[in-house]
């Protein structure tokens, strides 16, 4: 589904992601872990097409298409979804209006009819229950005045509504209490289907107790320095990231 080869990404002239390779097949859940500043968000933002993150080398193929040649909106319309580590506040635009626009833009791209306000509302109400958010969140401006946890749940709500093919969650689990964490995990698990894939970017292994990954990768200084099965997450939890630093240092 997603094939990243030799990808390098820079921000403000500084190379952050270096020669990264990653292969994600349909049906898989990948956890990308790593210390702060290792380049996890840079990778996620570059995959979503953020213009500030400049791809300086490499290739990315998504569903057989050249992902890097696609605009951010075309990536979204092709089923790629990024749950932001820091969701953006949008004053004056209600969650409902925002989601209605997103749903209809994506439907139009797939040749489907526009949904009217009532249809959209019906869908949203179902999904709200899933993430245990009150209906009042629909009429509030997107993320404005939301607590940290509410913002994260709002990302999961959007994911549930848009039903992406490839979801990238950038530390959606950070800063959540255990109940909110379970809600997020449940949202992810619902998306887990043979034809979908999920990349869970996370700092901690906590969420991996609820969402079992097929592969765990360690990102360090912009490179994937270690890949293994889910047991790697437990090892990271136990031993922290320092031993990786030592191991990488020893190799370099």
């Amino acid at each position: 589904m997603l094939s990243i080869r030799d990808l390098s990404v820079g921000v403000e002239g500084k190379t952050i992601v270096r020669h990264l390779n990653l292969e994600v097949r349909a049906g898989e859940v990948h956890a990308v872990m790593g210390p702060n500043g290792s380049g996890k968000s840079t990778l996620a933002q570059a995959l979503a097409g953020h213009p500030a993150y400049a791809v300086t080398g490499g290739e990315v193929t998504y569903l057989g298409r050249d992902l890097l040649a696609m605009s951010p909106e075309d990536r979204a319309r092709a089923g790629l979804f990024l749950a932001f580590q820091y969701p953006i506040e949008i004053p004056g635009v209600s969650n409902a209006a925002f989601l209605k626009a997103a749903i209809n833009e994506q439907r139009a791209a797939r040749g489907l009819d526009e949904l009217d306000a009532m249809d959209v509302l019906e869908r949203l109400e179902q999904k709200l229950q899933l993430v245990e958010m009150d209906k009042s969140f629909l009429s509030r401006p997107v993320n404005e005045g939301f607590s940290g946890g509410e913002k994260k749940r709002n990302e999961i709500l959007q994911m549930a509504v848009l039903e992406p093919t490839l979801a990238i969650l950038d530390e959606t689990d950070s800063g959540l209490d255990i109940d909110a964490l379970k809600i997020v995990a449940q949202g992810v698990n619902r998306l887990r289907r043979p034809d979908n894939a999920i990349i869970l970017v996370t700092h901690y292994q906590r969420i991996l107790q609820y969402v079992e990954p097929d592969h765990v990768h360690v990102l360090f200084d912009g490179r994937i320095v270690k890949s293994a099965g889910k047991e790697l997450a437990l090892e990271l939890e136990r031993r922290g990231y320092d031993w990786i630093r030592d191991e990488v240092g020893a190799v370099a």
Partner: protein, 445 residues
Amino acid sequence: MTSIGAGTDRYLAEFESLERGADRAPAWLAALRREAMARFAERGFPTTRDEDWRYTNLGPLAATPFRAAGAVASLNLSSETVDRAAIGPSAWPRLVFVDGRYAPEHSSRQRLPGGACLSSLAEAMTTDPELVQRHLARHAHWDADVFAALSTAFVQDGAFLHIPAETAITAPIELLLLTTVPGALAQPRILVVAGPHSRFTVVERYVGLTDDTCFVNAVTEMVVGPGASVDHYVLQEQGASTFHMATIHAALERDSAFSTCEATFGARLARTTLTVRFGGEGGRGSLAGLYVTSGRQHVDHHVTVDHAVPRCSSRQLYKGVLDGSARAVFNGRVIVRPDAQKTDASQTNKHLLLSDGVEVDSKPQLEIFADDVKCTHGAAEGQLAPEAIFYLRSRGLDDTAARRLLTLGFVREVVDRITVEPIRSYLDRTLEARLGTERGSKEMP
């Protein structure tokens, strides 16, 4: 004779022919007109050396010869055209003016309850002479404001609305003012008198049916009686070459509540000189406006809130969206006079700059002479946040749709204040249409 101000000679000639004509103005009005004309002639059109007009050049307006509405034949409008231009359904009481002149054939003056009166100003001078004499030109500062003076010199026709004490009217009253004839000067004059504890809504709706150069000089005076509650709207969609000058003065008496909300879309040059004056304790004023401009449009607001007495509150919220090489001027003046303790005043003015070619001059002017008061003001201008644009694009909206949604979000705060249908849906519709293309009409790759 005193010196003659720039660009006034044509108006003087016009005035003389008005005086010579078979105009049966009562003596008080004739005297008032002459005084106002003398004032206008003496002052002439302001120049940018005048502090209140520093950023607004009236040269093109002063140089254009306009013909008074009486001298031109207005279009014969079909009732469909009129209905389309109106905001409200025909069930709303409605007075229609074509190029400043009352058009009874298009107006619908439903019976209003309890002695309420909605009529042309000319009519009211015979039916309600005392009330008209007591209030007409007694509020708008024609001695200080050239456009109010010009209007007063030529005051002939317009709208008169009197709602007596304790009377509530649910249906908004619409004043529909159409601009149809190229080169016309229309000077509608509106007088609204709200009796004690009355409640109603009045809408001024300006629509230009011509893109040729016109000059509309409107003056609205509103007297809000003790305990009365008046909601006022000004919805302006003049043609692209029209000069639209609006002077609005609201005089608020004890414990009254007044709100005014303006939406400006049209005209090449639109100036609003709005004054809200608190003349009795316990008054509340809410002033809001949004303007959406593009091309070479110029929108100028001079808003004055005059707290002359204690314990009144005023809220100002103005938002402007500028595209192309549009220009906005905002001067928000709050006066708190020495006696006006416990005043609570706030002022917010924000501009969204959609292109590099736009220019904004925004200036708060707080003149506070009392010590126990609460006054806040805030002005901001900026562009759409790139992070917000990317967030929307990451959800499937293209750049145009993202910018449009964010721009709608910017003005939402003003739109949300409007609860009256169909004004609310009119604004939603007009904003959608004016802020870029709808998704359906976009080209698909």
